[in-house]
């Protein structure tokens, strides 16, 4: 018994000594590795599926931004490490967001394109009180009934897209007393966009000759094209997403239809894929590679040098979001999400590579910034595979308030859950 006791005491001492030794030497080293040396940022975006092509640009741009930030001294003197993953679908997106926050201790999450996945990531972000910056989900609901204190939006909301390109349609006399035929992607983004475009149409005295919901996996549009031909609309409105847009444009040209085409959602990569002669119509964009501002030119040059092709609009979103986070963390000398959010809500201004600076609107966390409408060039005016459209001046114009194109409180109201 006594021997046993002695043995136990000795081993206890040894263990205690061991623990003291280990914690004295190694623990600070572990701490340094976790927090002192690197700041981790989580990047989630669809890399496969019908939004995958856009996600690829998002990932390339985020990499470029981090590279530039690290070359300029990182965040608070620490190196930035980007953890990138394919968000796949809303369920997987939320699981991966949780893992990045809880296991990898990321400072914030940036990315996403699918509005449905934005929603599930935002729920994780709110629960864990971690900042999430949405760079590609458009639906108004994310800034309205589903808004979250921890979610901010660099990507424009559907209302901004509709009101931006709506100005071009109004100018060209395609709204008042006219009939539209719309094709809408059958998921959260499309439904939301259809609602906003109907609101615009009603407010401006036009109506719909037809509107069809299109399953996201649809590749053949011939049945829809026959209906459009029969309906003879004044404008064909495309509220589709991802590869759907490319498929539609190629087949619209194939069937030789000539009704004016316009869209309320757009991504440059899809127009590039449709190609010269197939790409037609007027579309809204959040940014494009032909902007003449110094910031945009530098970004386009850096991106083109690194990847041998120009960036598309999704690349802008992720690039700018990473840069905004870096600037904020460096200014505040803090990686705490609540502090960053407070800073954003106070109306901090950021360089978003456009003529005017942008800021997050406190009421719904939407970035207020300039947008553009692009119109396809006729085939004989196209010089290369990238520069296939001409751009409108910035919308809103220089003398207008940036908020003029955003949804009003009446149109889309947000009450952050406490």
């Amino acid at each position: 018994m006594s021997n046993n006791n002695q043995f136990t005491r000795r081993s206890l001492l040894k263990t205690a000594g061991g623990i003291a030794l280990v914690s004295g030497i190694s623990a600070p080293a572990i701490l340094r590795a976790q927090t002192a040396d690197v700041i981790k940022i989580g990047h989630l975006t669809p890399r496969t599926g019908f939004l995958g092509p856009l996600g690829e640009y998002a990932a390339m741009a985020a990499d470029l931004a981090v590279e530039e930030i690290n070359a300029a001294g990182g965040m608070m003197g620490r190196k930035v490490e980007l953890l990138k993953e394919d968000s796949v679908n809303p369920q997987t997106a939320s699981t991966k967001a949780e893992r990045m926050i809880e296991r990898d201790k990321v400072a914030c999450i940036i990315g996403e394109i699918s509005s449905a996945s934005c929603l599930t990531i935002a729920q994780v972000a709110s629960r864990t009180k971690t900042l999430f910056i949405n760079t590609g989900g458009n639906s108004d609901a994310l800034r309205g009934k589903d808004c979250q204190r921890y979610m901010f939006h660099v990507e424009s909301q559907n209302s901004m897209y509709v009101k931006t390109v709506g100005r071009s349609f109004l100018r060209d006399g395609l709204v008042k007393g006219k009939k539209w035929y719309s094709l809408t992607a059958d998921y959260a983004f499309g439904h939301d966009l259809l609602k906003v475009s109907k609101r615009f149409m009603e407010a401006n005295g036009g109506n719909f000759a037809g509107d069809d919901l299109v399953p996201t996996d649809a590749t053949d549009f011939s049945a829809y094209l026959l209906k459009i031909r029969e309906a003879k609309p004044d404008l064909v409105v495309i509220n589709l997403a991802g590869n759907q847009v490319t498929n539609f444009l190629k087949q619209y040209a194939e069937f030789g239809l000539t009704f004016p085409v316009g869209g309320f959602g757009f991504d440059t990569a899809l127009a590039w894929a449709a190609g010269k002669g197939n790409f037609v119509g007027t579309w809204p964009v959040v940014w494009h590679h032909l902007l003449e501002t110094p910031g945009s030119k530098a970004f386009v040059t850096a991106f083109t040098n690194k990847y041998k092709k120009p960036p598309e609009n999704q690349a802008w979103g992720d690039y700018v979001a990473v840069k905004i986070v870096a600037k904020t963390i460096n200014d505040l000398k803090s990686v705490e999400s609540p502090k960053i959010i407070e800073h954003f809500e106070k109306g901090a201004k950021f360089d978003v590579l456009k003529t005017r600076e942008g800021y997050f609107r406190a009421s719904d966390h939407q970035m207020m910034h300039e947008m553009y409408a692009v119109t396809a060039l006729p085939a004989d005016k196209i010089k290369n595979q990238w520069d296939i459209f001409a751009s409108s001046p910035a919308v809103p114009a220089a003398n207008e308030d940036l908020e003029i194109i955003a949804a009003t409180k009446e149109e889309n109201s947000c009450t952050f859950p406490s």
């Binding site: 890399r47 496969t48 599926g49 019908f50 995958g52 092509p53 856009l54 996600g55 690829e56 640009y57 059958d186 069809d212 919901l213 299109v214 399953p215 996996d217 649809a218 590749t219 053949d220 011939s222 049945a223 829809y224 026959l226 209906k227 031909r229 029969e230 590869n243 490319t246 498929n247 190629k250 087949q251 040209a253 194939e254 069937f255 030789g256 990569a269 899809l270 590039w272 894929a273 449709a274 190609g275 010269k276 002669g277 197939n278 598309e312 595979q385």
Partner: protein, 292 residues
């Protein structure tokens, strides 16, 4: 909706179904003879489309139309000789897993070589324009496409029905052991069937490249409806698969035509469910002893 438009939608739906056939017939043939559920079939379709893109600057669309399916068919032979061969006698679930993996490897390889963004490719100038069939105006390219598809399907049917090659293949589907006992090795037949089936998937890739978006995951988009066609049509039945393809195209087209486009994809699965409930072997499925 006018009866005229409905007639157009019915016709267009039937034409749409023909594209699935090029994929579905190969799928059905490879399964009937080798018992391999080839989930990688869509990947060969994608490879066909990408090859068109790569070869066109040198050979034109016409040249790619000849060369690309042959290259894809040769890939099919290699895959058959190295991978399929090992699974002919095993549980179909194993070959299903193998081809599922193969499909993912192929898709990722395309993504690594060509990038994830879709690439552009247009209908060659000489195949553009519209044709009027009575008052039904239709894309000239699709009429050509239909002609090519029907020629292929007819040639395949003649090959299977009227040649000694076809007789051995049909016998092999029913009773491979008996074919073996008669001193005929099925091995070269398996390779040829894989080459034919996979080559047709490649051909579909060439034909659809000018009108569909070309991206690494395009194979996934076509494999599911093609599978539904095979299941509805019934294994081992050439005409069953043909009828099912037309039916699937028709159902999809009419659903869009009558204003239920949102349910157009769901409708083909519902159709499959109904067929399986009442005819578990598919519409014209034959009784194949070893699969019962």
């Amino acid at each position: 909706m006018s009866t005229m438009l409905l007639a157009q939608q019915i016709l267009n739906g039937l034409l749409d179904g023909v594209y699935y056939l090029l994929i579905a017939l190969g799928l059905s043939l490879i399964f009937s003879l080798g018992g391999i559920v080839n989930l990688a079939h869509g990947a060969f379709y994608a490879i066909g489309a990408y090859l068109t893109l790569v070869l066109s600057p040198y050979l034109g669309f016409g040249g790619s139309f000849v060369v690309a399916p042959v290259v894809v068919a040769l890939m099919g032979v290699v895959i058959e000789r190295t991978l399929f061969r090992r699974f002919y006698r095993s549980d179909p679930i194993l070959s299903l897993l193998m081809t599922f993996g193969l499909a993912m490897v192929a898709e990722q390889a395309l993504r690594m070589i060509f990038g994830a963004p879709p690439l552009s490719y247009s209908i060659p100038t000489w195949l553009r324009g519209q044709v009027a069939i009575g008052s039904f105006i239709y894309s000239f390219y699709r009429v050509v496409l239909l002609g090519i598809a029907i020629t292929c399907i007819a040639a395949l049917w003649l090959l299977l029905q009227k040649t000694s090659f076809g007789r051995v293949v049909r016998a092999g589907v029913q009773n491979p052991d008996m074919v073996g006992a008669l001193g005929i090795s099925l091995q070269p037949y398996m390779s040829t069937v894989a080459a034919l089936g996979i080559g047709m998937a490649g051909l579909a890739g060439v034909l659809l490249a000018p009108i569909y978006s070309i991206h690494p995951a395009m194979g996934q988009e076509i494999i599911t409806p093609a599978f539904v066609v095979v299941v509805i049509g019934g294994l081992g039945s050439f005409w069953g698969v043909v009828a099912a393809a037309l039916l699937v195209g028709l159902v999809k087209g009419v659903m869009v035509g009558i204003g239920y486009s949102a349910a157009s994809t769901a409708a083909i699965y519902l159709l499959m469910l109904l067929v399986l409930l009442f005819r578990p072997r598919g519409l014209f499925g034959e009784r194949i002893t070893r699969f019962e």
